[in-house]
Structure formats: C-alpha cells, structure tokens
C-alpha cells in the first residue's frame, strides 16, 4: 500500500506542488476502493512513516 501510494506520488511530483497533491488525491478518489482508502487513512493517522510527502498531504485531505 505504501509502495503503491508512493509510486503515484512520484508520478505527480513532476508537477507544481498544489497540482501534484490534487493529482494524487484525485487518483486515490477515482481508483482506490474504500477499504484501501480506509487503510491508508488509518496508516497516516499513526504517523504515515515512509509515505512520500505528496501522498501524505493527499491522504490528509482524504480524511
């Protein structure tokens, strides 16, 4: 899950920061099933260690 989220973040990292976070967030919303979103939200709630900063920011907006 962390690896998947970071791979998404790495793609959007080529874009300006706000656009990149929006891109990652949009990806989570469009393609991740509820269980997966719940899992990553719970993971971030515990600190989100190892998550790319863009993924971290996006997940926080997912909550």
């Amino acid at each position: 899950m962390i690896h998947r989220a970071n791979q998404i973040a790495l793609f959007f990292a080529g874009y300006p920061h706000d656009e990149a976070v929006a891109g990652v967030l949009d990806h989570f919303k469009k393609f991740w099933e509820r269980r997966m979103r719940d899992q990553i939200v719970a993971y971030v709630a515990q600190g989100g260690k190892g998550l790319h900063e863009l993924a971290l920011e996006a997940v926080k907006r997912l909550q």
């Binding site: 790495l10 080529g14 469009k30 099933e33």
Partner: protein, 951 residues
C-alpha cells in the same frame, strides 16, 4: 445456409482517380486505371479461365489460360497482366483462344493424376473446373513419358499436406508466402520440367513456414490441402464469424458439415484481415471439441473434494446461495467478479451489470487489468479516450513505423504481414525492444534502427527521443498551437528539454547508444507520416501508463495524429481486450469510460437498470486478492479468465483464492483457477457464441454461432440465470438485445446494432449521429477531450533491481503458435512447435553458468522458483533472459513479482530480477503443482486429464 463462395477477381483491386471504360465481349465496363483486363471482365460479369491468378496477389502471367484477343492488337495477351485501357475491345472467347486453352489444359492434365473421384479437392478444384470450362475431352500425350505422378507427399505439417504429384507449379503458393504472408519460406526449385515447389531444403514442418495457411488458400488443386478436409470431405455450409485469438480480430468462414467444423478459412471481406490468417485462427480450433471440455455443471464444498456433476438449476442455485450467504455474513463488498477479453462484448456487459446491480458493488475487473489498462489511462489522459487512433489499413500510408515493446510477427501475425508489406514498399522501421525480434531483420525487412534498450528503461528512451525533437526544433508548432493545451505543452517542453532527458544522459540507464537514438528520433520526426505501434512491452511495467503518455506526447509534438498513416496504436493482446474495456468492466467506470462517481451517468444506468448503484470505485483484481488474504473478500465469479496462471506472483494469487469461501469459474476447461473453485459452469467456445468482439482498431465484428453450446447453455444465459437466482433478473431473449441496451446507454456505441453490423460487415466506434458508419481514424480536427494534453513523464526506475543474488532480468512474452495461458492452443497440434515454455538465455550468460542447450535450469526470483529447459539465443542481450507463460506446469508467474504500474495496477511482467542455475529436478512449486492438480481436478470417480503436462 449455404457454402459462401467468394468471387475471385483474379487480380487485386486498384484505387485511382482516373477511370477507364472498355468493352469486353460486347459489354461496357468502367474500372479504375491500372485494373487488369481479367478483373474488368469479372466486373462485367465475364469469367475468363485462369489458374495462376488470384486476387490477393499480383498477376504472374504463367498459366497461359486467361488469353484473350484485343481488337487492333496482335496475338493473344494474358488478361491478368494486360491493363484495361480506354476504348479497348476485348474478346474472351474465340475458336483460336479455345484451341489454345485446350492445348494448355491438355499439357497440365498430361502430368496430373486422374483420381478426381477420390481426390480431397473433388468439387473444390480449380484445375478440375478449368478442364470443364475449356472443354478438355482428351489427353493425347499419354502418361508413359516423364512425369511427376509419383512425387513424394509431404505430410509433416500437422494441419495440411503437400502432395507434389498434384502440383501444376502455378507459383500461387510461393507468391502467397511472399506477397500475402511475407515469410518467403517457399520457392520454385529447379528449372523447366524439373521445376517444383519447395519449402527450402527441408520439409514443411522443419522449414521457415509459419503455417499461416495462405499457400493452402491459394492452391488451385489438391496439392496443398487441409488434413481435416482430407479426413472429412468438403463442407456444405459456412458461417462468417470472428477469430477468438489475438486483437487483430480476423473474420473467418467456419466451414461446416452439419454441426461439425471442417475448416476455418479467412474471409476476404474481413476488414481487419482481408482474407489472411495465422496458424492459430486458421488451424488451431480443435480445442473446441477436445476431450477435456467440461460439459456439465459441477459443485463441491471444498476444493479438495472431487467435483460432483449436478443440474444447471442446482449449480446456479448453489452459487447464488453461497454468494448471498457470504454477503449476509461479511457484507455487500465481500464478493466480486472478473470478466475476460475472451468473452463477447455482450457477455462482458452482462457480467459487470450483474455485479453492479445484483451484487450491489463495483468489484468487477477484467484481464485487461494485466495487459492494456495503462493504455486506457495514458490515452485517456492525453487524448480523452481509451482507444487506438487508427484502423489497420492506415499503415498503408505510413512512411515511418516505430514498433515499441511489441512482437507483431508472433503476437499479431496477420497485422504483421500487412505491416511487412508496407515495409517492403519502402516504409522505414524503428524497433524499440530489448530482444532482437523478427522484425529487426527478416526476409526483405530490416529495421533502420533497433534501439535495444534495457528492460525497464522505456520512459527514459521515449523522453530522450522527445528531447531530441524539442531541442532540434522539430516540434510541429502549428499542430501543437491549434490542437493542444498551451500551458501543459509549455510545461512539458521545459521538462523534456532538460539535459537529464538527453540521449547522452540516458544512455547509461537505457543501454541505447545516444547516436542511434538521435538518428531514430530524427527519422520519426522528419520521415513523413510516422506511426507508433506498441504492445505489452510498453504497458507491463511500473511506468506503463507513463510510457503510454510519453508516446502520446511524441505523436502530438510531431503532429502525427488525426490523419491516415500516423497515430498511437496499441496492439491488444487478446481478441476482445478493447471490447472488455469499452463495456465497463473496470471497477471505476461504466461502459464508454465514464466514472462511477459521475452523477448524471450513474443516474442514466440507475434509471435503466432500476437499481441504486455505488458511486465509488470497486476492487481491482490484485486488490481483490489482497482483500481475500486480509479476510474481507470471500467470493468471486470468474468468467473466461485463468488468473492463477496468468497473473503475477502465483503464490499470492493462490493464497487469495484459497482464502475465499466460494469461487465460481465459468470456462471451457478445468483451468488452473478451477483448481481453487467450488462451482464450475461449463462455458462455450467462440464457435458456440452469438455476439460481438471489438478488435485493436475499435472494430466491432459479429461472432456468429456455428454450433450449439456444448453444455446446453450459452455464457450470457448462465450469467442471466445466476443474476436471476440472486434476485435480479435480466430477461434478454438474444444477445442483440444486450447490444441494443449498450447502444442506448453508451454514446460512442449509439449507432451500433447487430443489424447495422450485418449491413456494414463491421463498425469502428465511435458510431453515432456524428459518425453513422463508424470512425476509422480518430481525433481528426480535434481530440475527444477537446485539446490534447501533454503530460510530464519523469523517468522513475523500477524498484525491481538486479542484485548479486538475482543478477539477471527476466522478461516474459508470447510466441506465434501458443496463445495466452494455452487453454486453447495447448489442446491443439500447435504443441508440435511449442510443447513447453523454454528459457531463452544469451550464450555469454549460459556459458558463465555452465548451461548448454536443452539443460534443465532453475529460474529463481525473490517471489519463487520454477524450472524449465534452456535455449541458448542471441536474440537476448547479455543479462536478460526470456520465457513465455503458455503452459501451466512451467509456472512463469511463480517467478514474477507484485510490482505494478503506478496508475492502473498492471503487473510488471517485463522486469523481474532473477538468477538462473542448472537444475537436476523440478522445483518444489512444480511438485506441489502436480500434486494439487491431481487432487483438485477429480470428478467423483473420474480422473480428468488436463492439457498441462509435467515431465
């Protein structure tokens, strides 16, 4: 129903602006300039006798049977090689011509066996027909002289015989092999009376022949003859249908005796194949009646129990009961389903409808997940829709062809022949592939550049090509300004021009010499119409979607879109990958690629289906398996897909399958996935189906039922019955009604119906009010999304890295004679060519490991280990090994890992770090596999023999 007899015009059609009018036997006829007199005669309704001419190859003028008289000209020219001219007056019959023709026929027959009554071609022999047409009544020369009547028969090929005693040396087979197939395996050996057709210095089986059947199709006698016709006799009726193998979607005539197929012959009016075929579609259809076919529904409580044959009613009710029980216990989202690219559009649509409406969730996915899902994401992001941009015929206008991560001669052979024809005409070729595929150098085809990149470096290479185009000032500025989003383009231009994307900077990562890459980039940008064709070597990477976007960027930057001869063209792996995606079988979108969260789209479906639908994406295949391992996903319905063999990291797949409480498999055979199933619904082969397939060029073609469903119920009827048992009836009377519903709910299919397809032959979507007869080339004048969008495609190396422990890269693929998981082809004579998957390894790597040709080797990754036999091959680079996944026992996916495309979850089949060592015995996994298969395929007291073979 009757046997379809297609008209043979003798020579190919010509396209010309200028027309010429001539008179043939008193009839005026107007034809395009360049048309032969022979063809013009047929157009005028006049048949000129012929033997060496046929209309899918150029005139040869050797048989001297088509002689005619032309007013004002001396002699009797051959009508096949004489072009129609304005005012020409042609006579096809006269006493002089009749005498000449009889003389020619007499010579032919003087060296031909007179066994017509027992000949396999009796009733379907052009030589026999022509003898009748010219009125041959005697052969004055006798048979005592030198002749070929005792020439040896070559029966080495499993599908056809070559009986040299019946050959008239018309060269049609040789020319078909050259002009139609492009293999050049046949030749005329010797001179004069000693001339004979030869498959090189050996027999057909050992020769370079690829068994496409073009020579058999072309043969006017019984020299080249299908063994099925020899065994069964000639067919009496035919049904036009669509091949169930690759994404080319060839049209075939299923030629029948009653309810038995006698042969499959390619249909000339098929717009994808124009009368050509490959070994799979033409000959490998025997699996449909293979003894392994399961013909009765079966259930069992545990996968270790033997299967119990039951009635359809009991099986359907059992499956529905289990799904209801699981949902009641674990929740609505605890079940899901998978559909397949081997299903028709109508079947796929029904499966996703049942899951969304009857299961009440969006947990539906399709095998496109593991092949071309990045195509959907990448092309939708840049162009606005998930589809190849061109029709196949567009390649006729290509000046430069760039083939990336595809091996068309093996995986899409009929289109490869079309492409090779264009290459022989002078189009330039760039191949981007780690392997030296056949297109790099084969008969009369040679790539201008072979960019032999390291697996995993696709994006670095495409970025470097774009870098050259941008920094050398080769961008088609007017196209970009008019057709693309300016801000996104400028953002991309700035990114791609950075030095780190240059060929010199990326050379170390990709292994592609900078000079070669620069030259290839210049050719692509300046060589005229440039088309990209790509395959799974693009998509099955951790950056698969990024690479698709990179290719789209390149095409937009050079203006290579929106006209013939250009474009970005995915070569879809299976027959209905495009259709499966179109039909809404992904968990996040309805048919026509509309997201489930879109209120107006969802309302449309809710109103039509009379049910409330989820507005959030469901689970993908890999997510379903993860959830199963975690204990939240407990039941699955799988139609036509074998995920245990085809999906990566087999151990993870089987762990997920084992964790489920109800697995329902609908298939022809007890495939590998069925080993983990509790319910088995016997499905139908393509010969038993009614519906449509959509090929790689968006062409929707009819699949017509040639024989009744072996198990008594068609696949669409099984899904309907299951849905009804779940409490959601879908009462269609015929698959055409399903397509009507698809058309009502899907704007790009609005004009599609079975009647319309029957009328036009096939239709390329979008087909609607704007394009009532379909759309061969997309994005003319504007993109589906409005303006094209350049995307930033940063190269991010895969996390799958070679190490001291796993120093080699494994890349997997497919070969000509087998198809996907081998369920079909491995149950045919195609095993003669490929009885097992082998490991291709470079001589350098082999020598370092003491490996010799044919040695059993262990292939080990961090995911698992299997064993197979080695083939030493310089097609591979040092450091890269290759295998196929066609046979269950090989377990190629035991070795592949869980890494996947960042956007779509498409597995990274093309890059796995491995070690190869000599092995003395099969791997532990293989031993376990054989044991599991033995245990899980028992039918009460019967033992099922599967196509998978151990050694």
């Amino acid at each position: 129903m009757a046997l379809i007899q297609e008209i043979d015009y003798g020579t190919p059609a010509r396209i010309a602006e200028t027309l010429v009018t001539l008179e043939i036997d008193g009839k005026l006829v107007t034809v395009p300039r360049g048309t032969s007199v022979m063809r013009a005669a047929v157009e005028a309704g006049v048949q000129v006798p012929k033997l060496c001419a046929t209309d899918n190859m150029e005139a040869f003028g050797s048989c001297r049977l088509c002689l005619v008289e032309i007013e004002g000209r001396k002699g009797t020219p051959a009508s096949c090689t004489t072009l129609a001219e304005p005012g020409m007056k042609v006579r096809t019959q006269s006493p002089k011509i009749a005498k000449l023709r009889r003389g020619v026929m007499e010579l032919y027959i003087s060296d031909h066996p007179l066994d017509c009554l027992t000949c396999a071609a009796n009733g379907d022999c052009e030589l026999q027909d022509m003898a009748g047409v010219v009125g041959l009544r005697e052969v004055r020369y006798g048979y005592e002289g030198q002749n070929h009547l005792k020439a040896e028969k070559d029966q080495s090929n499993p599908y056809f015989t070559f009986d040299a005693s019946k050959c008239i040396v018309c060269s049609r087979c040789v020319r078909a092999c050259e002009e139609v197939q492009g293999t050049f395996a046949l030749t005329i050996q010797g001179r004069g009376f000693d001339s004979k057709v030869a498959s090189g210095p050996t027999n057909f089986l050992e020769s370079e022949c690829v068994s496409c059947g073009a020579c058999v199709q072309a043969c006017p006698t019984a020299t080249l003859m299908e063994k099925t016709v020899i065994d069964h006799g000639l067919p009496e009726h035919s049904v036009v249908t669509t091949c169930a193998y690759c994404g080319v979607g060839c049209a075939f005539k299923a030629e029948m005796q009653g309810a038995e197929v006698v042969r499959m012959t390619p249909y000339k009016d098929g717009k994808a194949n124009h009368g050509h075929s490959c070994v799979k579609g033409r000959f490998a259809w025997g699996y449909a009646t293979h003894k392994d076919r399961i013909t009765k529904p079966m259930i069992r409580a545990k996968i270790t129990d033997p299967w119990r044959e039951v009635s359809w009613e009991e099986a359907i009710n059992y499956a529905a009961g289990e799904f209801k029980r699981i949902q009641a216990k674990y929740g609505r989202d605890s079940i899901g389903g998978i559909t397949s690219s081997r299903c028709t559009n109508e079947e796929t649509y029904l499966v996703q409808k049942m899951i969304r409406a009857a299961f009440g969730n969006n947990n539906v996915d399709t095998c496109a997940r593991v092949c071309h899902s990045p195509t959907g994401y990448g092309l939708k992001s840049t162009f606005g829709t998930s589809a190849g941009t061109q029709d196949f015929d567009s390649v006729d206008d290509s000046d430069v062809i760039m083939v990336i991560g595809a091996n068309p001669t093996d995986a899409h052979p009929v289109f490869a022949s079309h492409m090779k024809k264009r290459l022989r005409e002078g189009a330039r070729l760039i191949v981007v592939d780690p392997r030296r595929i056949d297109l790099v150098k084969s008969a009369h085809v040679k790539a201008d550049y072979h960019l032999s990149l390291l697996p995993g470096s696709n994006v670095a290479v495409i970025n470097a090509i774009a870098h050259v185009i941008v920094t050398e000032g080769l961008v088609d500025e007017p196209f970009v300004k008019e057709r693309c989003e300016t801000e996104a383009f400028e953002q991309w231009r700035k990114f791609i021009a950075e030095e780190r994307n240059s060929p010199e900077a990326t050379e170390a990562m990709s292994g592609v010499p900078a000079a070669d890459l620069r030259a290839a980039a210049l050719l692509y940008a300046t060589g005229g119409n440039a088309a990209i064709y790509y395959g799974l070597g693009v998509t099955e990477h951790s950056q698969g979607s990024t690479m698709v976007m990179g290719m789209a960027n390149l095409a937009m930057a050079t203006g290579n879109l929106g006209k013939r001869g250009v474009g970005v063209n995915p070569l879809r792996g299976q027959n209905n990958v495009q259709g499966a995606c179109d039909m809404g079988s992904f968990p996040h979108e309805f048919s026509g690629y509309r997201h489930v969260s879109d209120e107006s789209t969802r309302k449309l479906f809710e109103d039509a289906w009379h049910v409330e639908l989820q507005n959030e994406p469901g689970l993908r295949i890999s997510n379903m398996l993860d959830a199963a391992c975690e204990g939240t996903f407990k039941g699955i319905y799988i139609e036509g897909e074998d995920i245990v063999q085809s999906d990566p990291n087999t151990q993870h797949v089987t762990a997920g399958m084992t964790a489920m409480e109800c697995v329902v498999v609908q298939d022809l055979f007890l495939n590998e996935t069925a080993s983990y199933a509790h319910v088995f619904f016997p499905g139908s082969s393509f010969l038993e189906k009614d519906g449509t397939f959509t090929n790689a060029e968006r062409r929707i073609s009819r699949v017509r039922k040639a024989i009744p469903p072996t198990a008594g119920m068609a696949d669409w009827e099984i899904t309907m019955a299951l849905s009804a048992a779940l409490g959601y009836p879908m009462p269609y009377q015929h698959p055409s009604e399903i397509m009507d519903e698809i058309a009502r709910l899907t704007p790009t299919f609005a004009g599609v119906s079975f009647d319309k397809i029957d009328e036009l032959g096939s239709i390329q979507w979008p087909c609607n009010a704007k394009a009532p007869e379909g759309t061969p080339v997309m994005h003319i004048g504007g993109f589906v999304r409005g303006k094209g969008r350049f995307m930033i495609t940063e190269f991010i190396p895969t996390d799958e890295r070679t190490t001291g422990r796993f120093p080699l890269i494994l890349t997997t693929g497919r070969i000509l004679t087998q198809y996907n998981v081998g369920a079909q082809t491995a149950r045919t004579e195609n095993n003669v060519w490929h009885a097992e998957d082998v490991l291709e390894i470079h001589p350098f790597d082999a020598e370092n490991r003491g490996i010799r040709e044919g040695d059993r080797v262990a292939l080990t990754s961090r995911a698992g280990q299997t064993t197979l036999h080695a083939r030493i091959s310089e097609r591979m680079q040092p450091g890269v090994v290759y295998t196929t996944f066609h046979h269950g026992f090989t377990g190629a996916n035991v070795v592949t890992t869980e890494f996947e495309d960042w956007a779509t979850g498409c597995p990274e089949y093309k890059v796995t770090a491995v070690q190869v060592t000599l092995a003395k015995k099969m791997s532990d996994w293989q031993e376990h596999y054989l044991e599991t298969r033995k245990q899980t395929t028992q039918i009460e007291s019967k033992q099922i023999l599967t196509g998978a073979a151990g050694d």
